[in-house]
């Protein structure tokens, strides 16, 4: 039995194709039923997020059975199989396990190291249990995926250092002010960048947000979304003295905030720091303001430099993460190897059970033990004896089965029964 994955993601398919293949919650049950209808597919799991759709199957013949999954997917999205093949990838065996570990750790994400994917993978495992796709293999894979991802998140900095401009801006603000709960922000503009930055500030727990825009209604709408207040564009300079963080992204062609405005604001602030983030091109905030004491100005290029540095840092961390993934893979393969011995153990135990039953029958007949109570006591005794005798060799059989090596019969006997040479 091995794991195989058929999938597509932001690297292999454009958004139009990803949209068509996406499986929403209401379709999951039907998809699981269709996939599991194939007798040769023993377990299955579907991961469907905005950036990826992946079908994992546990099978003994992945080439044939992945084709049947492709057929189901083709029917579901209404795309020809030949067309679908252009956008999909297939991994099997070790590669598919490595792939799911990479996905869960965020190494395969559009924004490397983003944490949401881990939750989505955990949800997918849960859905797979709910819709009958999970068996021993996937349950163990879930355990290893969670363990490996947690290790990667704990011991590497893959999730640290923001890699989006708006988030980097908020992180920089946190680097100056620490806690944002008692700080106030002024957002100049109501475009997409301002909206993102305002939402990140809200998530970071900013104390007060004020939004201003040339079109007052837009400012009011954004203020409403982020739980702040709107002010008229003509009045925003009066707000500077009460604002710790100022984020600006407007289409203005002239400077909106000059050094004189900031000097005036600082005279009312008892030298409390001010942090300006200028995401606009052309710039809204005079770069000379950075020269004023306790005032920090960052423009879009500075933020991009932060993002690039952070991205490089995450790439370095990804190398460390791969070491943990390889360790996880090794551990999982040890489990797979140990599972190969299970049929042998079952057969051995079955043989002992048969002997036990036959001997009990023979003994009861010979000594005329008819009472059910007496027979139960006898069976309890023999079963206990048998279990004790088998416990050590079966335990050792499982433990050493993953270790590749050849033993002579006497060595094997010593290992199984933990025997020592008679002196």
């Amino acid at each position: 039995m091995q794991l195989a994955v058929l999938g597509l993601n932001h690297n292999t398919a454009p958004v139009e194709v990803r949209e068509r293949l996406a499986v929403d919650g209401s379709e999951l049950e039907q998809m699981y039923t269709q996939i599991m209808a194939n007798d040769r597919i023993y377990e299955a799991m579907i991961i469907s997020t905005c950036n990826r759709v992946e079908y994992y199957i546990v099978t003994d013949d992945f080439l044939c059975n992945i084709e049947s999954v492709l057929e189901i997917v083709s029917e579901h999205c209404g795309m020809e199989r030949t067309e679908l093949r252009k956008y999909t990838f297939i991994h099997c065996g070790e590669d598919s396990i490595r792939h799911i570990f990479r996905v869960a750790c965020g190494l395969d994400s559009l924004v490397m190291g983003e944490p949401q994917i881990f939750g989505q993978v955990k949800d997918s495992f849960e859905n797979c249990r709910t819709y009958g796709g999970a068996g021993t293999f996937l349950k163990k894979l879930e355990e290893f995926t969670i363990k490996t991802t947690k290790k990667v998140r704990t011991y590497t900095g893959i999730g640290e250092n923001p890699v989006s401009v708006s988030y980097a801006a908020v992180e920089l603000a946190s680097k100056i002010f620490g806690r944002l709960e008692d700080k106030s922000a002024l957002i100049i503009g109501a475009g997409e960048m301002c909206e993102l930055a305002a939402k990140h500030l809200m998530t970071a727990g900013i104390g007060r947000t004020t939004v201003t825009n040339r079109t007052y209604e837009k400012a009011e709408k954004l203020a409403c979304e982020v739980g702040g207040e709107a002010v008229e564009f003509s009045a925003f300079k009066d707000m500077l003295k009460n604002s710790d963080i100022i984020i600006s992204s407007t289409g203005a062609t002239e400077l909106l905030v000059t050094a004189a405005d900031v000097k005036d604001a600082m005279s009312h602030r008892k030298k409390k720091p001010m942090f300006f983030i200028d995401i606009a091109v052309p710039r809204d905030i005079d770069p000379q303001i950075n020269r004023i004491e306790n005032v920090y100005v960052y423009d879009i290029d500075d933020l991009k430099a932060v993002v690039d540095a952070n991205r490089k840092q995450r790439e370095k961390e990804a190398v460390k993460a791969m070491e943990f993934i390889e360790d996880g893979l090794e551990g999982f393969y040890e489990w797979i190897e140990s599972m190969k011995i299970v049929p042998l153990i079952k057969s051995l135990r079955g043989q002992f059970e048969e002997i036990k039953d036959a001997e009990l029958k023979r003994f009861s007949a010979k000594f005329k033990i008819d009472s059910e109570q007496e027979q139960a006591k006898l069976e309890y005794l023999v079963s206990a004896y048998m279990n004790k005798v088998l416990h050590t060799p079966l335990k050792n059989l499982k433990n050493v089965s993953a270790v590749k090596g050849k033993y002579s019969l006497d060595e094997a006997l010593k290992i199984l029964f933990e025997l020592e040479d008679e002196k």
Binding site: E160, G178, K270, Y296, Y298
Partner: protein, 263 residues
């Protein structure tokens, strides 16, 4: 043996905090804290052992003073970590703690008590409180230095390892305030206890005692900073600068007093 163990633990704490600074693994901070606590336990054990075996005034020699100062620094690190969870201050504290313990070891044990009567309760309040106060003043100076380093990173837009590991400016400011106030209050208690002890042991306050002159100048410098902060308010940058200037003034005064005594 406790001397060697406390040196070893402090060196290991320094090593792990340096590794954390460059590698960023959170687990290294846990190990650092463990060694800091062990270092404090062993240096305290050493202090108690010497005290009880020599029956000497533990603060009566330079060795004892340095040992207690290193304990106070380790204690300051542990308390500040629990309150602020910012381990990078250890980069400044541990080297000094290591130096002080090594210094204490090289200078030998405690000297025998010259004047048993001098060892009153007031002395045992005066010296520990003064030393703990000095340790916190030292830490506030380190925080002031950290503030200027981090401020430069932000102004010059350097996003390297210092920017990532040093605390935010606001947090450094809170660290400075906390250490400054703890230092000031403990030093004040120490100074007052010292004056009472002086009256008890010699019947009067000897205003020409170099130690007293030094202590009073230190107190005046730090009380000026704290009162000015309370009354007029100070920007974080000015506070950081005042801690550094304050500590340099203390060192200059100390050297001046030492020369005066030698003279």
């Amino acid at each position: 043996m406790y001397f060697d163990l406390s040196i070893l633990c402090s060196v290991l704490a320094l090593l792990h905090i340096t590794l954390y600074f460059f590698l960023g693994y959170g687990r290294l901070v846990t190990i650092t804290n463990l060694f800091a606590v062990l270092g404090l336990i062993f240096s305290s054990a050493q202090f108690i052992t010497l005290w009880s075996s020599a029956h000497a005034n533990p603060f009566g020699s330079m060795s004892g003073l340095l040992l207690f100062l290193s304990q106070a620094l380790l204690l300051a690190y542990i308390l500040l970590f629990f309150k602020f969870k910012r381990p990078s201050i250890g980069l400044f504290i541990f080297p000094l703690a290591v130096l002080f313990i090594i210094g204490a070891r090289l200078l030998g044990g405690f000297s025998a008590m010259h004047n048993p009567q001098a060892a009153s309760l007031w002395l045992y309040i005066h010296l520990p409180f003064t030393i703990i106060g000095t340790a916190f003043f030292m830490v506030s100076t380190f925080c002031g230095i950290m503030y200027f380093i981090q401020e430069r990173q932000l102004k010059n837009k350097n996003f390297g390892v210092i920017f990532r590991r040093f605390p935010p400016l606001d947090t450094i400011d809170r660290l400075i305030n906390t250490t400054l106030y703890i230092g000031f209050y403990t030093f004040t208690i120490g100074l007052l206890a010292g004056l009472v002890w002086m009256i008890y042991s010699s019947g009067r306050i000897n205003v020409f005692s170099p130690k007293l002159v030094f202590a009073i100048i230190t107190w005046i410098i730090y009380s000026s900073i704290t009162f000015y902060k309370q009354l007029k308010g100070m920007s974080p940058k000015d506070t950081a600068l005042s801690t550094i200037v304050g500590f340099i003034s203390v060192i200059i005064t100390y050297i001046g007093v030492a020369f005066f005594v030698a003279g």
